[in-house]
């Protein structure tokens, strides 16, 4: 990395950062993002001997520097048997078949679950800095809900690579759904899990479009949640004030019902209140938590981030883990602000996920309910 006329960033990520980053990444995923264990194990090993990742800002890149977004795409459950190829990330990052030149920086495609830890692991393994920015600002609803679509700008190409180092490069021309173009390739031909990247992105591109500060925001959130592990509801609510969040309900998951509609699998989770006077909560979810409903009123909705925390451990639970019998706290965190716009909500609001309701900000809902 050239870092022309720039001071080298002092921000580093070391082994002590892994736990809070994992908490933060799981929270930002809003129930999606997969099981972090495999990527945590990979990061723990990479950082074992004092290795670090250098976290740099867009402004710390030079004008000629380029960044490669990285993510895993597919079914996270597939990672439990397919543990990735050691050569996969270097291939996607630096293969002359895939890029004109080796990028200078890696960046998370989204700051969410495995898709934060994976680029971080690649950053350490390849000794390249990781950018404190992403293309969503949180976990994406799908590949069509990134700032690329929000700002109506496309990279030259999208890159997929599976564990056998088989690669596909897709150039998008016209109004095509990236989600519908890429995911079937991964599901049907690549064993349901693959590395996703794009052609390299320039500093100018990132200055104009990237969601900046998302990794450090994730770290801050994770530190807060890790520190609040074991807290009761009141203590948790007080902690959340610092990140603009709100406790929606505490209780035990009493029911989970699955159905299927045009958008795919849909689940409803019911949280019975643990506090006297609590109203309980209904959570609508697909691969993420999308709506929180209390006494018939929506109290939080996508794209704000709904997080279900284990009351036992304080750890954010994936939608897969939200099953009857779990004692939980349900909280809401504010979305990346760019999604709270007419265009952003059309792409990432409840209607985009098949719910016949409009966005309700949890802070607005608080006013309605309190007023």
């Amino acid at each position: 990395m050239t870092m022309v006329n720039q001071e080298v960033s002092e921000m580093i990520i070391d082994r002590t950062s892994v736990e809070p980053l994992s908490f933060g990444a799981a929270a930002m995923a809003g129930g999606g993002g997969g099981d972090l264990y495999q990527l945590r194990a990979m990061l723990d090993d990479l950082l074992e001997d004092g290795a670090t990742a250098q976290l740099v800002t867009v402004d710390e890149m030079s004008e000629t520097d380029e960044a490669a977004p990285f993510a895993l795409i597919g079914t996270p459950y597939a990672l439990s048997e397919s543990l990735l190829n050691r050569a996969q990330a270097p291939h996607v990052f630096g293969s002359a078949h895939l890029r004109a030149r080796r990028p200078d920086v890696i960046m998370p495609y989204e700051t969410s679950g495995v898709n934060l830890l994976y680029p971080l692991a690649v950053s350490v393994a390849l000794s390249v800095p990781i950018l404190d920015a992403d293309l969503v600002g949180q976990g994406a609803l799908n590949l069509d809900t990134t700032i690329l679509q929000l700002d109506e700008i496309d990279p030259i190409s999208f890159i997929l690579c599976d564990s056998y180092l088989r690669s596909v490069v897709v150039t998008k021309i016209g109004d095509l759904s990236i989600e519908r173009s890429l995911r079937p390739i991964v599901t049907d031909a690549m064993g349901s899990i693959a590395t996703l990247s794009t052609s390299s992105l320039s500093q100018a591109f990132l200055r104009a479009h990237a969601c900046r500060g998302s990794v450090s925001r994730c770290l801050e959130l994770g530190e807060l949640l890790a520190a609040a592990a074991g807290a009761d509801a009141e203590q948790l609510q007080n902690s959340l004030v610092d990140v603009g969040g709100r406790l929606l309900e505490s209780g035990r998951i009493s029911e989970r019902i699955a159905s299927r509609d045009a958008h795919g699998a849909r689940h409803v989770v019911t949280v019975a209140p643990s506090r006297s006077g609590g109203a309980g909560l209904r959570i609508e979810l697909r691969d993420k938590y999308h709506l929180a409903v209390q006494s018939g009123l929506i109290v939080a909705s996508m794209p704000d981030i709904i997080v279900v925390l284990s009351a036992m451990t304080g750890r954010p639970l994936s939608t897969e883990e939200a099953i009857p019998g779990k004692d939980v706290h349900v909280i809401a965190l504010p979305s990346e602000t760019r999604w709270i716009s007419e265009r952003g909500l059309a792409m990432a609001g409840p209607r985009a996920a098949g719910y016949n309701v409009d966005y309700v900000g949890f802070r607005d809902a608080e006013q309605v309910m309190d007023g």
Binding site: G32, Y164, E320
Partner: protein
């Protein structure tokens, strides 16, 4: 010689052995505690076990126990106790190379256990084809292990659905090693991933010689005490499994003391919801009882950075006081029992606290029974087993459920459950996200009382050491 009497009238013997003490109780068929004894471990554990067995048998010559329920904590902390060096062979090739065996493990344990490690080609691919096991590489690996390891662990991607590849590798290893080296396979337990199965197989392999030695030693002591009853070992969740089935799976007993103490705490208090504090200084801790069941952390557990394929009781664990055995209470949790109880009260409300174990009988509310809760939990445990399957879009749900239930029942019977009484205890659904269908992992748990007939004890047909079936090609 202890006189024999009707099976139903015979008591059960509960035996709880930790690094600190051996405790024994005789529990009658109505749940009455007929006798109890405790001995400190001053020299060897065998001496303490022999002492308590002699006491309860001397006092109860009228009817020997129909079964023995045993909690057996490790001889020492895993980080410093007796561990064998393990060679690890993974079938998976380059597609699993980003996370090699021992990934994420704390070095203190990995460096004590790790022998030669090889990832070789062989096994199913995701497109439905497969790669033959590279038997030349198996032989190379065996040559590296010869004379340097005490056990071998073999793992393979997708081995729960295609075990024949692990089987093929183990057959070749067995040809080369004979019976001189235990070989533990990963591919039996559905519901967990490759790393969890592999981690568990590695630690089982590291502990298997010690586990066999301990169980055989206790068997000898029971024979010496003229107690010919079938031995059931208690698992981490408080359930029982016939000892011969579990001797190759010692990780499933690491937290058996706490699991049994939580169960026993519920029995002696008559409560279904409580915080149970076990005072044993080496294997006790704090656990939770909810709806009459031992609360487990999830479907997995952590040991020195290694995620294992089975759960341990939620709470504070004393077995590994130098490290966080459990993900359940975080590393920064204050570790005094009082602090942990305070935290659990904050999280779960005003649950009663039942203190069990040594010294409790001298407190205001304590009794001999509460003092021996872990042994009582062991004596009264049911046998349990579970099976996993994946269901998509509820198609064939009933058939899949029936198949999984039948498999779980078979496993429970093989583990020593009475075929006449085994029943489905729970059916749990674990959704899988990011799939086109409504995909769900289904877990069926069954349980039932131990089979206690002397004449037709179920034979264990399933060996965890050996290939389960011929290789199909």
């Amino acid at each position: 010689m202890i006189a024999r009497q009707d099976e139903a009238a015979r008591p059960r013997l509960g035996l709880s052995v930790t690094r600190a003490s051996a405790e024994a109780v005789l529990v009658g068929p109505d749940g009455d505690v007929r006798d109890s004894a405790r001995a400190d471990v001053r020299g060897s554990r065998e001496e303490a076990i022999g002492e308590v067995l002699a006491t309860v048998t001397a006092n109860n010559r009228a009817g020997g126990p129909s079964m023995v329920g045993l909690t057996l904590s490790p001889e020492g902390p895993i980080g410093s106790g007796p561990l064998g060096r393990v060679g690890v062979l993974r079938l998976g090739g380059a597609i699993s190379s980003a996370l090699p065996p021992f990934a994420g493990w704390k070095r203190v344990l990995a460096e004590r256990i790790a022998g030669p490690v090889r990832i070789i080609e062989g096994g199913p691919r995701h497109d439905g084809t497969f790669t033959e096991v590279d038997l030349d590489a198996v032989e190379d690996f065996a040559a590296q292990c010869m004379g340097t390891v005490q056990a071998i662990a073999v793992s393979g991607a997708l081995s729960t659905v295609a075990p024949q590849f692990e089987d093929a590798a183990v057959r070749r290893l067995r040809e080369l090693f004979g019976e001189s080296v235990p070989i533990v396979m990963s591919g039996r337990r559905r519901g967990s991933g490759l790393l969890e199965r592999e981690n568990t197989a590695i630690i089982d392999a590291a502990l298997v010689r010690e586990s066999r030695r301990s169980l055989r030693s206790i068997g000898d002591l029971l024979r010496t005490a003229d107690i010919p009853a079938q031995v059931f070992v208690i698992q981490n969740d408080g359930s029982a499994v016939i000892a011969s089935t579990l001797e190759a799976l010692p990780t499933r007993t690491l937290e058996s003391r706490l699991g049994a103490a939580v169960r026993g705490g519920g029995i002696v208090s008559g409560l279904t919801d409580a915080i149970i504090v076990d005072t044993d200084p080496t294997a006790g801790g704090v656990g939770l009882l909810r709806d009459g069941q031992v609360v487990l952390e999830s479907v997995t557990s952590m040991l020195y950075g290694a995620r294992l394929d089975h759960a341990v009781p939620f709470g504070l664990h004393r077995v590994e006081s130098d490290t966080a055995l459990s993900d359940g209470l975080r590393r920064n949790t204050p570790d005094s029992l009082e602090d942990v109880v305070r935290q659990l009260h904050r999280q779960f409300g005003a649950l009663d606290v039942i203190t069990v174990g040594r010294g409790v009988e001298q407190t205001t509310h304590g009794s001999a029974s509460t003092s021996f809760a872990a042994a009582i939990g062991a004596a009264t445990a049911d046998v349990a087993a579970e099976s996993w399957t994946i269901v998509q879009d509820s198609r064939d749900y009933d058939d899949d459920l029936e198949r999984a239930s039948k498999e779980a029942i078979d496993l429970a019977i093989a583990a020593g459950a009475d075929p006449r009484s085994v029943r489905i205890a729970s059916v749990d659904e674990f959704p899988i996200s990011y799939t086109k269908h409504i995909s769900t992992r289904l877990r069926v748990r069954v349980s039932g009382p131990p089979h206690l007939s002397d004449n037709d004890l179920p034979r264990v047909t399933r060996s965890w050491f050996e290939p389960s079936a011929p290789q199909h090609r």
